[in-house]
């Protein structure tokens, strides 16, 4: 009981005591989701990636020091149908054999207030690495934090859909990406 009160007192002072700060650093892939909406002939088609890994170290008190890195297994795509899944693995699209993994590494996190952040980083797909900026909303629940956001990625920037697919008349260039990335605070978890 005394120990618990001690812990609480310490965490109330979290802002002044960096050692007690909550850091969300255990990425929970099974609670996270990475989906996208592409437009074919102006028809929105939903898809998702089922397999991805990540490392997060995020302390709400020190967002600038945050670190995040994710790897997505491109072969785990569900692009809406079996035909589409087979197609997007080919050279014209992700060329999954040669480039099996897409990678995002955060380089800066800027607080925008109200649990909103602007995350900038490097996105690598199909051998191309480009700067990417996305808004992220943080939702904290107990010792778990959910980072949610959505951004528009232009497929042509990464040569996704070449040759006969390069024209945007059928499959639009803009692809809406939606993510929900969950991490728990290991320190709080071990205190239980």
């Amino acid at each position: 009981m005394k120990l618990w009160q001690h812990g609480l007192a310490l965490c109330v002072m979290a802002t002044t005591l960096p050692a007690c700060a909550v850091e969300f650093n255990q990425f929970q892939a099974n609670k996270s989701a990475l989906s996208f909406v592409s437009k074919q002939m102006n028809v929105p088609v939903e898809g998702q990636f089922k397999s991805f890994r990540g490392k997060i170290a995020f302390d709400p008190a020190k967002p600038a020091a945050a670190k995040a890195e994710f790897e997505i297994d491109l072969a785990s795509i569900d692009a809406g149908s079996k035909d589409a899944n087979d197609e997007v693995a080919t050279k014209a699209w992700f060329d999954t054999k040669a480039f099996p993994i897409a990678k995002f590494t955060a380089t800066s996190v800027k607080p925008l207030g109200n649990n909103r952040y602007e995350v900038a980083g490097k996105m690598s797909i199909k051998g191309r690495t480009l700067d990417l900026i996305t808004p992220v909303t943080l939702r904290q629940e107990g010792n778990s934090a959910s980072f949610e956001g959505s951004l528009v990625l232009k497929r042509a920037d990464y040569a996704i859909g070449e040759g006969m697919w390069a024209d945007f008349g059928t499959v639009a260039n803009e692809v809406q990406i939606k993510f929900r990335l969950v991490a728990i605070a290991a320190a709080a978890a071990s205190a239980k």
Partner: protein
């Protein structure tokens, strides 16, 4: 003019009949052709066109049926035996049912397969069903079965019209022809 003495279909009925007829044949042929194609932008385009055509046909059939209810169709020739009248009526009822059921099954199939129908790429139709692969495959079978049933009925319908024209030599076909004017077959010959 008394409605009972009508010998020809109205211009609107004739126009809708032939518009729908050619649209159905074209959309049916497109459906047969497109579904075996390997995935390509062309295939995505053809699928969209097929779905747009289906929605358009559905709306034309609604108009056609509304017109039919408000404008009596010409009487069948007095010489036609009762069984032929019954078969003719049943064929027409079935054709109307299928003209509704075929596009409806296509729409539901699209929804179940996770591809919404967006009419002319502008107007999204609501998805009445959620994405469900098994249901999508089942509805594909239903769509196909309904289509081949309709194709069989269209062939019967066409055969009957030609039989009336060339064997019975009555005005059953000519009263639905846009260019036959006010004359019947006897006067044309």
């Amino acid at each position: 003019m008394s409605l009972g003495s009508t010998t020809r279909y109205t211009g609107v009925a004739i126009g809708l009949h032939w518009l729908i007829a050619f649209a159905i044949v074209g959309t049916f042929a497109l459906g047969l052709y497109m579904h075996e194609l390997p995935l390509s932008p062309q295939k995505l385009k053809l699928y969209s066109w097929h779905k747009w055509a289906g929605v358009t046909i559905f709306l034309c059939v609604v108009l056609r049926l509304a017109w039919r209810f408000s404008h009596r169709a010409p009487e069948l020739p007095a010489a036609m035996p009762a069984w032929q009248r019954k078969v003719a009526e049943a064929t027409h009822v079935l054709l109307y049912l299928l003209m509704f059921a075929v596009p409806l099954s296509g729409w539901l199939m699209s929804s179940a397969k996770g591809f919404q129908t967006v009419w002319f790429g502008v107007l999204p139709l609501p998805d009445l069903l959620g994405k469900n692969k098994e249901l999508g495959d089942l509805l594909q079978e239903v769509h196909e079965l309904l289509n081949f049933s309709m194709a069989a009925l269209v062939v019967a319908h066409l055969g009957a019209a030609l039989k009336h024209h060339f064997v019975d030599r009555d005005d059953v076909l000519s009263r639905m022809l846009p260019l036959a004017g006010k004359t019947n077959l006897g006067e044309m010959k």
